[in-house]
């Protein structure tokens, strides 16, 4: 094993004897484009709803629940897909989230939530993961579409405008503090702040 690594290192250390500098530079450049393009295409392919609901765990549980909510069907026809809320838009954050998602691959392989009962048993933990994530990033995924600066309080109901102009405006509360369970059904809410 040590020998193989040594041979590899010796080869990399030596200057190229057979290939021209131009070939290596241009070839490397093209290979780089192909690699990078391929990487990004693959990344984007995993960032679609089609990819998410290709697993029955997602299609039969959370996707079915989403269908009845305003984030799926509404008067203006704008809708949120899974990654809109569950994957950050910024590249570095996105990569970080994708690395975390390797645990979801683990869960898929070992069938952690492969039945409805198992899913319901894990639901609270899964929901809490998302709540803490959104609480930590000040509900960034909500704010990608719902921009506080452009909210028209006069168009909101009295109750909504009252809450948005006080707690939300002061930064005391963030979207997820009140708007839990708006896209999926809620887990057992015992012990969750504001639900006792």
């Amino acid at each position: 094993m040590k020998k193989i690594i040594q041979i590899g290192w010796q080869t990399l250390k030596k200057p190229s004897a057979y290939f021209s500098l131009g070939f290596l530079v241009i070839g490397g450049f093209i290979a780089g484009i192909i690699f990078w393009g391929g990487f990004n295409t693959a990344l984007e392919a995993t960032n679609t709803e089609q990819f998410c609901i290709s697993c029955h765990e997602m299609e039969n549980n959370v996707y079915e629940e989403l269908k009845t909510t305003i984030h799926f069907s509404n008067r203006s026809g704008v809708r949120a897909t899974c990654p809109d809320c569950h994957v950050p838009h910024k590249w570095t954050d996105k990569i970080a989230r994708k690395m975390q998602a390797s645990k979801e691959v683990w869960g898929k392989i070992f069938g952690t939530i492969n039945t409805r009962d198992k899913f319901l048993a894990h639901r609270k933990r899964l929901a809490q993961n998302e709540w803490t994530r959104l609480k930590a990033n000040d509900s960034l995924e909500c704010r990608n579409c719902h921009n506080f600066d452009y909210m028209d309080f006069t168009a909101q109901s009295p109750r909504a405008s009252q809450q948005h102009s006080t707690s939300l405006a002061s930064g005391d509360k963030t979207c997820i503090d009140c708007h839990k369970g708006i896209a999926h059904q809620l887990p057992d809410m015992k012990g969750v702040e504001g639900w006792e």
């Binding site: 009845t68 109750r159 369970g181 809620l186 057992d188």
Partner: protein, 163 residues
């Protein structure tokens, strides 16, 4: 023997006339379109265009009760509110411990009572499902005029008649 045959013949004729008469009467009723009030003049073999869905009133202003025991009506939208084994969205504002922050009216203390009249620490399971009694209101036009008169109006009228 002859009498029995005659009775059989007569009853047969009687039944036949009865059937014919019933058919005639049902025909007459069917021709009268006023029977199916909600369908109005739509014939039975056509589908009427449904009227648009009415908007839920969302003004957050209390409405008076029509009679003392009426469950108060909900003055706001409750779309997608979950009330089930896991959670009760209504209680996240209307429960005793939440009303200070939410400024919503607290559920009546009668809701803490079980059917034997004992007061419990929490909402009684028989009163858990809010929307069994409490309903949102819409701006829909009344299909039938409501001529309900509450008892205060009746009592006033009675007193006025006495004087």
């Amino acid at each position: 023997m002859k009498i029995i045959i005659n009775i059989a013949k007569i009853s047969k004729i009687a039944i036949q006339t009865l059937i014919v008469a019933t058919l005639f009467v049902t025909n007459v009723i069917a021709e009268n379109h006023n029977i199916a009030t909600l369908r109005a003049s739509t014939s039975i073999d056509t589908q009427a265009t449904p009227s648009p869905i009415a908007n839920v009133i969302n003004k957050d202003i209390k409405q008076a009760r029509n009679y003392p025991m009426q469950p108060p009506v909900i003055p706001h939208k409750t779309r997608n509110y979950e009330v089930n084994l896991n959670s009760n969205k209504c209680m996240s504002c209307h429960s005793r411990s939440r009303t200070e922050e939410s400024q919503a009216p607290m559920v009546s203390v009668t809701h803490f009572m079980d059917r034997d009249g004992n007061f419990l620490a929490e909402i009684s399971p028989r009163r858990y499902f809010c929307n069994q009694c409490h309903a949102t209101q819409t701006d829909a036009k009344l299909l039938v005029e409501n001529d309900f008169v509450d008892m205060h109006t009746l009592m006033k009228a009675k007193r006025a008649a006495k004087d």
